[in-house]
Symmetry: none
Subunit: 232 residues, 2 copies
Amino acid sequence: MAAKLLVVEDEPAVREMISFVLKQSDYDTLEAEDAEEARAHLAEQVPDLILMDWMLPGMSGVEFTRELKQDAATRDIPVIMLTARGEEDDKVRGLECGAEDYVTKPFSPRELAARIKAILRRVAPHATEEMVEVGGLQLDPTSYRVSVGSQEVDLGPTEFRLLHFFMTHMDKVYSRSRLLDRVWGSNVFIEERTVDVHIRRLRKALEPYGVDGLVQTVRGAGYRFSERQVAR
Amino acid sequence: MAAKLLVVEDEPAVREMISFVLKQSDYDTLEAEDAEEARAHLAEQVPDLILMDWMLPGMSGVEFTRELKQDAATRDIPVIMLTARGEEDDKVRGLECGAEDYVTKPFSPRELAARIKAILRRVAPHATEEMVEVGGLQLDPTSYRVSVGSQEVDLGPTEFRLLHFFMTHMDKVYSRSRLLDRVWGSNVFIEERTVDVHIRRLRKALEPYGVDGLVQTVRGAGYRFSERQVAR
DNA sequence: GGTGCATGTAATCAAATTGTAATAGTGGTT
DNA sequence: AACCACTATTACAATTTGATTACATGCACC
């Protein structure tokens, strides 16, 4: 559930430091020392964000970022560029290649964490670990708890993820295939109808607390999570 | 009371970074950007260890260290010198002035923590920590004792650390891999399933006192320590 | 060298979860 | 009313995941 970040940095001490800071801020980290190793990671799993050193042996961070922005599979992953002091003039070029933000080394852990959080909130709100509350329903990603008032709701892992996704993406219809992408993960080979079943399971779990009406069916389009009641 | 460390470093980002790493290792930190500010802190309280940047505006770290070593009140505080890469030749001079150790920037958090720990173990064998209490369960880090009321609970070292970690990180789910990181230490090569076994041992030890329900399993996510009962 | 404790791994068992398929139901249209 | 497309619900088997136990190794202390 915690956001997964990929750190691409050749200097081991710096990489370890960044990774350490991120872990303390409850992110999961993957590490790579160059573009090649990073590609290997990306082929396996798509992180929520990439921290990319400006200077890399072989292909530079800028070139690599540009490459990522051209591939549909990685285009949407936000990139934060790490530049050394004095390379600040290159800021413009860094952002030009498609990076979301840049941070100059040495950086303070608070600053780094803040920038990451800001970006994640924008592009992947469900990865921020913040408590969500909708219509009396509370979900706390940190403790993995869902409750209505003081009553705890019992959910399976998939229903939990599904609910979390919905709660962080209110009032928008998602098709089954889109839900499979966002909740199950891209490139999974699963029947679309399976989504129906999990929707059912989620509704059933919410039913005793009278909040199952939040999960709404939009015929022909998909599902939606909304506080506004549907006309009957 | 955790050990108190004084960080003397003029670059704010680096100072914050060091401070951050130390706090995660459960140290208290004081910060100073130059010799003058450091003296002000020292006049008030004597830290257990000083991390000193080699280069400081005004009086250099070396000079300042020498000064400290001449004052009876501060003579016994161990000093770790921070040098930038390339200044390594100065290592000798650094140690000459009385520093116990030196670390070159950039450094890995593990390395820094390890060196600090080594020195503190030698110099201040009892950097005492605070007693924790949750739901009738008491844990005293200094005496390595766990008790429920007047009854003592018998725990192995690993279970003790695990419990201590849990008690100081309540209501939050930790995956097996994260527990390995935080309780066993980073980068240990241990099977994730091993965590299960230690959880089991911990629960078994707590069972006779009726507090084993505090250790909760969150399917698909990890384990959690919480006073709130699980819904079932 | 022996003993006992602590620890990590592997094997086994039990239970929860998951995806699919089959069937029933719904709503809208002609 | 019959039909069609789509969704809801249920049952089920396979898979995953966690609990528990037994075992081998390593280490400290006799």
